[in-house]
């Protein structure tokens, strides 16, 4: 996304008594190689959800696909009854993402200049002491708890499938050159199945949503160190992006950092 983003932290007061308040920080940068930023972010302060999409394909198509993805997630979740149940929200996320896929796919086929456009998507919805995740592609959700960083989403990439199949090990995978090959994406096929997850979200936890522009440049140990620095979430998000650029910035890089306030 072009243009400078307003910086700042949004503190969200709990909707459900007893739920933690959440601080959100974000940063998105075109990186040092690309001409255009085709990542799109959304932080919905009132609804306790965040979304991040990494667009791809065609002239300007990546921009449009990623923008459509986060805008349509926002629209669907905004209409949700609050506070929602985990089951109802998970169902809504599933059907919404499948529907967003169809819209991006059909629009890409109908408008020639948007042909082949697609996007990844990762969504996190905070409900009570849980966070629901839904994703398609290789944009990720991480949790940092007591200094330990855990990747909560599994990439939909050729590389991850090879690792899962035992064909290559994780260390080898980090040095492979064809990391970006997606096995699932929005707008790529007529139908797509997002992966859903439900994870603990306790006061003190930090969550990170990011595009591969971050994780391709910065290793997990450095991500954990920057997230565990004790700084505010906005400073952390900016530090992560700065580190990705310092390491080469070969792609658009985006990060949303959320801290559940103690």
């Amino acid at each position: 996304m072009a243009g400078v983003l307003p910086d700042g932290v949004s503190k969200v007061e709990p909707l459900v008594p007893g739920s933690p308040a959440i601080d959100f920080g974000h940063c998105s940068d075109v990186g040092r190689v690309r001409v255009r930023n085709e990542d799109a972010l959304h932080i919905d302060a009132q609804g306790h959800f965040v979304a991040l999409a990494d667009g791809m394909g065609g002239y300007r198509g990546g921009d449009v696909a990623a923008g459509l993805a986060v805008a349509l997630v926002d629209r669907a979740l905004d209409q949700m009854e609050e506070p929602g149940s985990l089951e109802a929200t998970a169902r809504l996320l599933m059907f919404t993402i499948m529907d967003i896929n169809r819209q991006i796919y059909s629009t890409g086929r109908e408008i020639p200049s948007l042909s082949g456009m697609g996007s990844t998507l990762v969504v996190a919805v905070f409900i009570g002491d849980k966070v629901l995740s839904a994703h398609v592609g290789d944009s990720r959700l991480y949790r940092l708890r007591e200094g330990v960083l855990e990747q909560l989403t599994r990439d939909h990439t050729m590389l991850q499938e090879q690792v899962d199949a035992g064909l290559i090990d994780v260390e080898e995978a980090r040095h492979m050159s064809y990391r970006g090959l997606l096995t699932r994406g929005l707008g790529v096929g007529e139908e797509v199945m997002p992966d859903l997850g439900c994870h603990e979200a306790l006061p003190g936890d930090l969550f990170l949503l990011c595009s591969d522009g971050l994780t391709d440049m910065v290793g997990d140990e450095m991500i954990a160190r920057l997230m565990g620095s004790g700084e505010g979430v906005q400073a952390i998000a900016e530090a992560l992006v700065a580190e990705a650029n310092r390491c080469g910035g070969r792609d658009n890089v985006s990060a949303i950092v959320a801290r559940l306030v103690v």
Partner: protein, 243 residues
């Protein structure tokens, strides 16, 4: 030069400059604006542009050509007219109202990203992109310069809020912190509230009937919202105020 903004479901897809005297619209590839959707005929419509006047003509399409919900055969395009083609919308923007050259993708992003700080801190880039697409004021060249410097001051310093007055959501409040907030029901009636440096404006985007502002139908122009204005959209009443 005049242009069209192609959107779907309230979301902008691309801008099309009316840079030829004759611009054809249809499903077949030879059309200048090709939309490969079955709701659109092979040769659906044509826009003839002379100086700053644009004329839309239906080419005996199967499903017809609609402007602002009304079927047309021949129509002189007015600022902000919305041409309906299946699920797609083409909004006509004449030359004078283009105060910046930002692309629709930048509009989407601004729409999607909610500003997280007090309005005074929003920068010029985000502020400028709001003016594309729904600015209906005619600007002379020297006025354009002053608009650019105005938008540099950031968004409206007060936050607009609508409070729902009727229906099951009565009492709920919606903060208009985004540069573009879409209200209503896609397919029935949709309006957009834009946030600009000097205030909030409502524009009708979709639907055969127009939303009501204080009991009167708004037309396709952007209307400034004032404190305690009552908006009636898709059967729901809401009140606008600033905080």
């Amino acid at each position: 030069m005049p242009k069209l903004i192609l959107s779907m479901d309230g979301l902008v897809l691309k801008e099309i400059a009316l840079d030829k005297e004759r611009l054809t619209i249809g499903r077949k590839p030879h059309n200048d604006i090709q939309i490969d959707n079955l709701a659109i005929s092979g040769e659906h419509a044509v826009i003839t542009t002379l100086l700053n006047d644009a004329f839309l003509e239906d080419r005996n399409s199967t499903n017809g050509t609609y402007v602002n919900g009304q079927p047309v055969k021949k129509h002189v395009l007015q600022p902000n007219d919305v041409i309906e083609l299946g699920k797609y919308r083409l909004r006509f923007i004449p030359e004078e109202v283009q105060s910046s050259g930002l692309a629709p993708s930048e509009m989407i992003d601004t729409q999607a990203l909610k500003p997280l700080v007090t309005p005074a801190e929003v920068d010029m880039g985000a502020a400028m992109s709001r003016s594309v697409g729904s600015n209906t004021q005619i600007l002379s060249p020297d006025m354009k310069a002053s608009v650019v410097s105005l938008t540099g001051q950031g968004v409206s310093s007060q936050l607009g809020v609508v409070q729902i007055l009727s229906g099951t959501n009565a009492g709920r409040e919606l903060e208009l912190s985004k540069s573009l907030t879409t209200l209503g029901k896609p397919g029935k009636q949709v309006a957009v509230i834009t946030r600009r440096p000097h205030g909030y404006y409502i524009t009708h985007v979709e639907g055969a009937t127009f939303p009501l502002l204080n009991g009167k139908e708004i037309d396709a122009q952007a209307h400034r919202l004032n404190e305690h204005d009552v908006i009636d959209i898709a059967g729901v009443k809401m009140e606008f105020f600033l905080r």
